[in-house]
């Protein structure tokens, strides 16, 4: 039982502010290097697990199911076309402020892959699940996710 005297709560609440004074530098890792260098050459590189035949795009070091290593496998170039598995339209930025130009984000299954890839849609008014899309490449690729500007209808 709490004490009857409520003298413990007589002080006004103060507020202390603080941040998290860090930033991060993430290496993309062993297979990340292969994937991002592929983007720089405007290629979509994938890798297939021999045991379960699953094709990963983006590629990975290991099959998460069979747990076999894929690093030494041949990374194959996928065709530059896929289908929209799902999409959303975003109206606000990460701070919650309204975007001047709302845009679409989509899960795209590149033909030949068994996994989906998360990216923007461009040059599209009314996307549909199942719609065929292809990457729009930057003119100055530099091994970054944004070497692909977005995916547009075929």
């Amino acid at each position: 039982m709490l004490p009857k005297k409520r003298t413990m709560t007589d002080a006004p609440t103060h507020e202390v502010r603080g941040g998290f004074p860090v930033h991060y530098h993430y290496t993309v890792g062993i297979v990340g290097e292969i994937f991002f260098n592929g983007l720089k050459e405007k290629k979509l590189l994938a890798v297939t697990c021999d045991e379960c035949s699953k094709t990963y795009f983006p590629p990975r070091m290991y099959c998460e199911d069979c747990f076999v290593e894929l690093t030494d496998k041949e990374f194959k170039v996928l065709e530059q076309e896929g289908t929209i598995e799902s999409f959303t339209k975003t109206y606000k930025d990460h701070r919650g402020d309204p975007l001047s130009e709302p845009y679409y984000l989509a899960l795209i299954k590149i033909n030949g892959a068994d996994t989906v890839f998360f990216h923007k849609l461009v040059n599209v008014d009314e996307p549909k699940i199942g719609m065929s899309v292809k990457p729009v490449w930057s003119d100055s690729p530099k091994a970054s996710l944004f070497d692909i500007i977005g995916f547009e209808p075929v």
Binding site: K5, T9, T13, F20, H23, H25
Partner: protein, 166 residues
């Protein structure tokens, strides 16, 4: 057993391998709750508050609304003197970002006078102008306060603790 891993130099890590940078933009606003609000309000008034447990009778500082040993509610705040004893201290030449200081700051745990059963207190700084040879565990110290009109209800309302004259 094979031991794997690819070591990178600082230059390779920062400039050669492909990487992604992230600068989190978050800030926190912490409401100070019941007991620490009292503690901070006390500091604003130039007072150090502790709290008393009616079960084990100990007086602790900083104050809290429960005794973590008996797990019973604390029933009252106790105004303590602004003096204490150095429990331990360091001469610190390293900053949070790992850069170095010429003149050390002197963090210390100060056991506040008037706390009972086992002495208790809080982290603060010692006067940087005390000669390093004079600083000892067990040294008696007194709070040096900011002028009243500059106090905001913060742990920094005490600027530091300085050596008490014998």
């Amino acid at each position: 057993m094979k031991v794997r891993g690819t070591k990178l130099s600082h230059d390779e890590f920062m400039n050669k391998v492909i990487s992604v940078d992230h600068h989190p933009e978050i800030e926190y606003a912490w409401a100070t709750g019941i007991a620490i609000s009292k503690f901070l309000e006390g500091l604003k008034q130039g007072k150090i508050y502790g709290a008393k447990c009616n079960d084990c009778n100990r007086v602790v500082c900083p104050p809290r609304i429960f005794c973590e040993e008996c797990f019973s509610p604390m029933v009252e705040y106790v105004e303590l003197p602004d003096t204490g004893v150095v429990n331990t201290f360091s001469l610190a030449y390293i900053r949070t970002d790992a850069s170095r200081r010429e003149k050390p700051e002197i963090p210390a745990v100060i056991d506040i006078d008037g706390t009972t059963l086992t002495p208790s207190g809080f982290l603060h700084l010692l006067d940087e102008n005390i000669s390093h040879d004079e600083i000892k565990v067990g040294m008696k110290v007194k709070a040096v306060w900011k002028p009243e009109n500059e106090r905001t209800g913060s742990i920094t309302d005490i600027m530091y603790f300085t050596k008490m004259e014998e």
